[in-house]
């Protein structure tokens, strides 16, 4: 049986990438909101009622979700994951599709809610999978050539 050497990304690398991605997404959302606010201030004063606030929160969540789903399903990497040299793939080594990316995003939210406890399996799982990876059937591996600590895995 042929084997390939896959280096799965650990908890620190993934946490750092996630933090940078959230920061990038927030900057994008806040920039858009600032532009909208500026335009609205030219027209008149902008007051958000309870419905408007819920709507703004929903748009914020939608944009953040779109950011992750788009990059995961289009390139297998978000900008921060590219910077950290990691990528998300399916168990068979392919880029996850949109549906799988949405499932992974839901898993990510579920992993974050209990104070990031959903990431703890990364420390003990042989393929360093977190809750969202187990739900979506994905793994996060290093995209660069092998050179560090290796974990042997069967070739897809």
């Amino acid at each position: 049986m042929s084997t390939t050497r896959v280096r799965y990304a650990g908890i620190a690398t993934r946490a750092l990438a996630l933090a940078i991605d959230v920061a990038i997404a927030q900057v994008i959302v806040l920039t858009g909101a600032a532009v909208l606010g500026l335009v609205a201030s030219l027209v008149g004063e902008l007051h958000l009622g309870p419905t408007g606030r819920w709507l703004a929160a929903a748009v914020w969540a939608l944009l953040i979700a779109t950011y992750f789903v788009t990059f995961w399903s289009a390139a297998g990497q978000t900008p921060a994951m590219r910077m950290m040299g990691i990528r998300v793939t399916t168990d068979s080594g392919e880029i996850p599709g949109i549906l799988r990316s949405i499932v992974r995003l839901i898993g990510l939210v579920l992993a974050i809610i209990p104070f990031f406890a959903g990431f703890l399996p990364v420390l003990v799982d042989d393929r360093r999978r977190a809750l969202q990876d187990m739900l979506a059937g994905t793994v996060v591996e290093h995209a660069d050539p092998p050179g560090g600590p290796f974990v042997s895995a069967p070739a897809p």
Binding site: G10, I11, A12, T13, L16, M83, P149
Partner: protein, 185 residues
């Protein structure tokens, strides 16, 4: 007993003395011509003839200068002088001479440099040069490359440190659980 003179020097001296004598004789011979030029009737005619001769002389000098400047021999001579090893020795000696250093220091201490620098700084040509350099694709490429290199370097260092933390954290937790890591292939 004095040494015998070099015949070439003697011949050269004789030629110089002869030339000087010829010049003096020519000047003496031209005295009547000068008087004739001031004569009321023959003067203008002579003046015209002298002017024609002068124009012919100027044209001849110009032709001679052009012939010299366009000659292959001049080019060869210049190349030979430049490539000659003695030229290099002379230049080296000049560069090392304290006199040249003194001259350069005097030039730098003088007002000439200040004036030149002021003129250069306030010249539109400098603006054009700066604009050209700032918009030069080569310069932009170099700056972009440097920026990319710095970003890449930072990213690589962050990756390495994060991977070290990955391994340390996993090793620690697996140690607590007595669950060893899979061995590398």
């Amino acid at each position: 007993m004095p040494a015998r003179n070099d015949p070439r020097n003697v011949a050269l001296g004789a030629a110089v003395v002869g030339a000087r004598a010829g010049l003096r004789a020519g000047r003496v011979a031209l005295v009547p011509v000068g008087l004739a030029l001031r004569a009321p009737v023959a003067g203008p005619l002579l003046q015209r003839r002298v002017d024609e001769l002068a124009a012919t002389g100027i044209a001849a000098r110009a032709r001679a200068r052009a012939a010299v400047m366009e000659s292959d021999e001049l080019e060869q001579l210049i190349c030979t002088v430049i490539e000659h090893e003695r030229t290099e020795v002379i230049v080296q000696r000049v560069m090392e001479s304290p006199g040249l250093e003194r001259i350069i220091m005097r030039v730098l201490d003088g007002h000439l440099i200040d004036g030149v620098i002021d003129r250069v700084l306030h010249s539109p040509e400098l603006d054009r040069i700066v604009e050209y350099v700032a918009s030069s694709p080569q310069v932009l490429d170099a700056v972009s490359h440097q920026t990319r290199s710095l970003a890449d370097e930072v990213a690589v260092n962050v990756r390495k440190r994060a991977e070290s933390v990955d391994d340390a954290a996993e090793r620690t937790v697996r140690g607590w659980l007595r669950r060893p890591r899979p061995h590398p292939a």
